[in-house]
Symmetry: D2
Subunit: 294 residues, 4 copies
């Protein structure tokens, strides 16, 4: 997606403005139009505030319209290719375009139950969740009452809008929509950072796993880039795998044969998509520690 | 298998003696017969020494006969049910009776290469190895010269004999054929042993895994019985899985939602089947350590 | 002190009985006399119960007499050598016979305040406390009301009696008056217990320290005997000092010069004199962990 | 000391230049004079290289003069106040102006032995050493031969010069004369950095200790400024003391009474004055770990 600077946006004509941010709120251009009238914006936070205020202050029926404009997750519109570009990309990022038969049936059943109970689509900012977390939220929110779900739906819409805005508009400030996941391997056998440890990050779902990232530690024992940054970390279970036997073999560290530790798996869950997660490994050929660091 | 005490064995007639230990060395009753003549034995170690000395001091062709009497691993005899009871049980314990097509082909190929190079069967004490370790030893030993392999084959036959003897004869002393694997969970959040942690021990082979044992920690943070004892621990990769989120939830310890740590997997390999392995977990909802303890 | 078995005691005449346990309750032989009449005792726990019941069921004035029979801590009687042998030994074990001028003045002041407020001596089972803990208890209990202090004084007298009984009488069962302090050093650089680590246990009081025990780890990484056992561990701050650089030097483990870790001090407090404290050290030349284990 | 920028120095006249760096090499202005002729310098590294090259390329007798111009450590000149300002400050920083009788005698004896053997003063860059390390180096270097000591003396003079230059001249680049010592406290009971932990850094010498720095951890669990930076860390034994019981009490974390851990002492030695030392503490009320991090 092409990005536009806040400065340019502040000076833009209506058409350019609408092209840039008209789809931040799903299928409701009036939000952007009202916002256009309030230029300029001192910060992306102010722009975001203005857009969400427009929704908050709109008559109930317009808010309802906004909610109803959202598609089902893994629903008919998705199957038939009738999603907005944003929704399609968001659902795909969460893997909702590649469901198993069973998962598809689960979503179908939950969509139905939800619509039956609340007469509106189930809205969730899918970029903040792994597939299992979406299903869990579905089950959980089905127990709410209608008023609570209206509030939750709007809140999720605002989260979606924040992420869409963050992708479209650059500004000196940033919306607080980014998580951070990093690691660090310390060789406490030799007393220095472990360089050259192969690392794999997997998302775990049930008994399955999906490799998200592969990398290797540098001279400081870290990966050159964080494992996650610049986006929310989906709520999910992850496994970091550290190839420590290969590392110690290269360093000619005495080990058993086969080595006591080879691939060290560290399994943890992310609960705050905008949080800072540092998950280091302190390791010898015979021991290791890990923790949520900062 | 019915056990007999060393005392009884010392006083037994030839027939009883041969029934008890005649099959300790595969298909070579003469070893037991020679041993019968040297009764009584002060210890099971002395009995074992006498049997292995009989082999060591036998003419080369008899040693060769002993070697040749062993069946192929996962070979024709096994497929057709023509193994001795001991060999059948030993191969089954290592899972050689349940191979995939690919594994079966691997064993076939390796048996062939080995026989071609050494003109004898590949002999290994399978109770000391997981399937992958057997294949690894196969590949490794194929690189030896004939003299080294003769020595290795005899050494493995003596290991097999020691285990068979250990299962048949009780005595005040014991042969050193037993490994020990235990764990211990310490809740360093609350400062006491973690009681009621569900534990699973798996053997890992490639991307697959086989549950070997399930248990729960007692008031001392240990399992009531060791995870392995009274037999060798097969050389293999294992994974201990600790259900720590369930434990902390029962203890009403504050956690994230979902918990940062839920199932903690600790993966390690055993290299000494007769070794002592203690693999504890020191854990809070946000950190853990593990190590090879004693 | 000469010990007597419960069996012998059950069969003893009055004189022997009184010699053995007549001084278990300070200066009140009537407690033992009443107890004599209730022989035999199935266990030391039953004997102890009978003695404490005699006090509980005595008329208030006799209980008061028992309380008043106790000497001040570090008081006039102590200075003049007028303590019973038990009291003298107990006060000496806590170091109350070797006070600094300042400490002496503190005790004098606190004894005075306590007597002024409660019209009785301050009674505490000194074998369960270090000097600083006694002073802390003094300050704390001065805030109680008279009824609470009467109860506390009796409770402390019973603790003193239990310890005196435990030292005098052997029986198949034991009173629960013993603590346990042990350590364990694991070399997680090499993956085995650390043998030959010199260990020192100190009691820390303010900026001073007193060496209580010295030892060395054996092949299992433990001291041959526990650091404390068979008695209460006085409530106090302790420091375990592990000479790890000497150990790693003997093992020819590469280290910095001077070594990053040399003497590793582990400082902790005991709060439960009858508790089980295991304080291990997991160490490499560059890292260590410690924890309250079990 | 007033600092001058490299830019200004490059443009300065001879008098200003000599004022600024004339005393970088002890009592040998010719080094700076030769250097003056080679202006301008692209970097402080180039300036330093030029000065040390001047010494390297000087005739032996001038190098000898430079060596002989250095005062004894804690010697007669020091006692009588006859040191250059630089030497006085350097010796004071290492505490050589406040020696005990015993230490003074030790230095006297070592100075004598050294002069007797090598006919020159013992030269060491004292800012890189604690008192004990200086004495240790003294003993060690007394065993060298004369040629080795000449080389060592020059090397130490260059180290002294580098530090003097670093203090006098600012430039875009920096000489590699700075060490870094930092800490980090992580509350692995609660899963976040420990804010508000009082920290004390002590230098340990024999049974004595000297407080070097006090501080408190901030919201990130670190001290606002590193414990050491912008100078070498003297080779010495240090103790970091963390007041963890006060921290956990403020956080209302359940603890024993008295707390199992109160002041946690972490004792370590620095061997590389220009190294990077990160010494974190991972702590619960019942456990802690520390290590040399990065």
């Amino acid at each position: 997606m092409e990005q536009i600077s806040l400065e340019t946006l502040n000076a833009a004509d209506r058409k350019t403005f609408m092209q840039a941010v008209g789809e931040v709120m799903e299928l409701t251009p009036w939000v952007a139009e009202e916002t256009f009238a309030k230029r300029p914006f001192a910060s992306i936070a102010a722009l975001y505030q203005t857009m969400t205020d427009a929704v908050r202050n709109a008559p109930p029926e317009r808010r309802r319209e906004l909610i109803d404009g959202h598609p089902d997750l893994a629903g008919k519109a998705a199957r038939e290719g009738n999603l907005t570009a944003d929704s399609a990309a968001e659902q795909a990022a969460a893997g909702l375009d590649k469901l198993s038969e069973q998962e598809f049936a689960d979503f179908h059943r939950l969509n139905d139950s939800y619509r039956k109970k609340f007469a509106m689509p189930f809205i969730i900012c899918v970029r903040r969740h792994g597939k299992q977390s979406i299903l869990r939220e579905f089950e959980r929110r089905l127990k709410n009452d209608a008023a609570a779900e209206q509030r939750t739906a709007l809140n999720e819409i605002f989260r979606i809008a924040a992420l869409r805005l963050d992708q479209r508009v650059t500004a000196p400030d940033r919306l607080k929509v980014h998580g951070h996941l990093s690691t660090h391997v310390l060789d406490v056998h030799a007393g220095h950072p472990a360089q050259g440890v192969a690392i794999e990050l997997r998302e775990i779902a049930g008994s399955g796993a999906r490799v998200i990232k592969r990398g290797e530690t540098n001279a400081d024992g870290r990966t050159d880039a964080p494992l996650f940054s610049g986006m929310p970390i989906p709520i999910a279970t992850y496994e970091l795998r550290f190839a420590v036997a290969d590392y110690f073999a290269k360093a000619r560290t005495p080990m058993a044969d086969p080595p006591f530790l080879d691939i060290v798996p560290v399994r943890f869950a992310v609960a705050e998509p905008e949080g800072r997660y540092h998950v280091p490994l302190l390791v010898t050929p015979w021991s290791y520690s890990t923790y949520r660091g900062s």
